[in-house]
């Protein structure tokens, strides 16, 4: 039986984070990019919890609560923006949102 140490959890978190990061860089759909951001946030949450457990204190879990709350607020605002953009442009592709090009 293999013992599941903190290292495993951290590795999983790193993998999840990388997937999210890659998704943000390669996808154009604003909604997908948004989900990738969520993925990255939760990967970080996982490292918090794992580290907290490994170190034997609660601070990591407290931090996770804060992240969850902020992420929820972010989702509300972000989705609202995406919906507003979709209504105007009939598209959720971020490449079309380049009016700030210099």
């Amino acid at each position: 039986m293999i013992e599941v140490t903190a290292g495993w959890y951290l590795s999983l978190a790193a993998v999840l984070f990388s997937i999210g990061l890659l998704g943000i860089l390669v996808r154009r759909n604003a909604l997908i990019m948004f989900m990738c951001v969520e993925l990255m946030l939760n990967a970080v949450n996982l490292t918090f919890v794992a580290a907290g457990r490994a170190l034997g204190n609660l601070e990591g879990q407290v931090a996770v609560f804060f992240v969850l709350v902020v992420a929820a607020a972010e989702v509300v605002v972000g989705l609202a923006i995406i919906v507003a953009i979709f209504r105007r442009r009939e598209s959720a592709s971020v490449d079309e949102l380049a009016s700030l090009r210099g």
Binding site: L25, L97, L100, R101, G102
Partner: protein, 631 residues
Amino acid sequence: MTDAIWLVIALPLAGAVFLHFFGRRLGEPLAGIIGTLSVAASFAVGFAAALPFIVEEGAHGETVMLWEWMPAIGANLEIAWDSLAAVMTLIITGVGTLIHVFSIGYMHGDERFARFFTYLNLFIASMLTLVLGGNFAMVFMGWELVGLCSYLLISFWYTKPSAAAAGKKAFIVNRIGDFGFMIGLMLVFTNFGTLAFDGVFERVPEILDEGTATAIGLLFLVGAAGKSAQIPLYVWLPDAMEGPTPVSALIHAATMVTAGVYLVARTAPIFEAGPNAGLVVAIVGALTALWAASIAIAQSDIKKVLAYSTVSQLGYMFIAVGLGGYIAGIFHLMTHAFFKALLFLGSGSVIHGMHDEQDMNKMGGLLKKMPVTGITMGVATLAIAGIPPLAGFWSKDEILGVAFEYGGVGIVLWVIGLVTALITAFYMTRQWFMVFTGEPRWDKGVEPHESPRSMTVPLVVLAVLTVGAGFLNTPFRLTLEHFLEPSFELVKVAHPPEGWGMFALLAAISVGAGFAGMAMAGFVYSRPREIWERFQQGFGRLWEAWAAAYRVDDIYGATLVTPGRKLSERLAFTFDAGGIDGLVNGVGRAVRSVGTRTRVLQTGLVRNYGVGFVAGLLAVVIWLVVAGGGV
């Protein structure tokens, strides 16, 4: 009344402010009447305040503090009310009132009628600030304000390019003089630590050495030469005749141009500590007197004759105050104010009656058409020619006596004064005959007429003063002398030679010179035009030089104005446009080109920003891992 002395300045100032806001609505002639009344009221207050000096001979003046402005440097709003200030105040407000009355008639029909009186009232207030100020700061303030009013009034008809140019010329030439005056004030301040008269004049002997006093005196002379139109800064005054004639009478004959004489008289202790400066003042005055008189001979513009005559007469006053004859100088200032204001107003009446004709060649035979103007101007002509017992005789003779008594250089100045007296008598008589006698040479359609009452009454009043003012200070009864003496306690005032024999001799010589000039002019100019034209041609090139005022304007133009303009152009179009602007534009261009090159980085695509973000993140992580965060 001394406590209410501030009213003297406040009344005309209030008039100016009031007319500025409501003058247009009041219209003609109400605005003029209000302007006149404010000056007349100022005269009344001044007269009441001057009574103590008249009643009690030798009464001392006092300084009235109105408001502490900058006590640390002695620059407060304070009024030095002594007999000298009283004389100046009465001349300014008295002659000013008459000229205001005259202007009501003269400016009739002008669309900026009310504005004219606004400026006149402002001028009276400024001039009174100059002569009543109890410290150099106030004098300087008045000095600049009268310059401003002079500018505004010379270019009153600013749509005429020549009037606009004359106003600018007067202002700029005066600035040159003011510069000297200002440096003089700084020297006074560095030496005395205060600008208040009380703290300066009494301490002159203990503080100023002769060199410093001479320097201050000469710098004051620069200022006085600018304001009082002396060599080499006199060129603005003849051009100032572009202004309305009452302005010429008030500002450029009776009051403002005498500010330089007043300044020298007021700062007499400084000139006494540096007598060489005084001597220079007198020499400048004598040269100006002769120079300007010779130019006046050949002028054909009625006002130009009077303008050069004014420059010349101011030269007389400078001779007097330069040699220490302060009372003689102020006496001539006063009589000159009367007869020259009369001459200018008379010429204004002629110009008015001739439908704005100023060329004496186109006049002639006006005595029948304009008797009041003709006779009063005749009186003034006799006065300025120095014929007894008119005012000009007494004051001019006192100045010549002072010069004679001085001896040495004074004798030279006396001779110059005598020659000038002869020339003065000549050109003034010439003017009178050319304008008032002989065949009419009017342009077609010109129908001369006597001016309205509002213009002739001031002429008559001034004629009475011209006859009578001389008796204020005759060797028989020195009323003005005793009146002014308390103001000149700190200095030794120069006097004409003592004794009746000397008086009679000097008077006989100068009256002889006056009669000779008048006789010559009368002999030539009472005859038909062909005769005096041949007489003028007899002078050849000399007459042309006089008529062209020695081409001084051209010389100044070639030596000063044109190089100055070239320098300014080079500074403006080469140095400023190329150098300064190039630097500023270069900085702008550099920033812009950096911006142009870097703007491609801003693609507006989120993923590009994302890549940059991740690349940065990776760099930080690698740095942390490899270098351990620099720890």
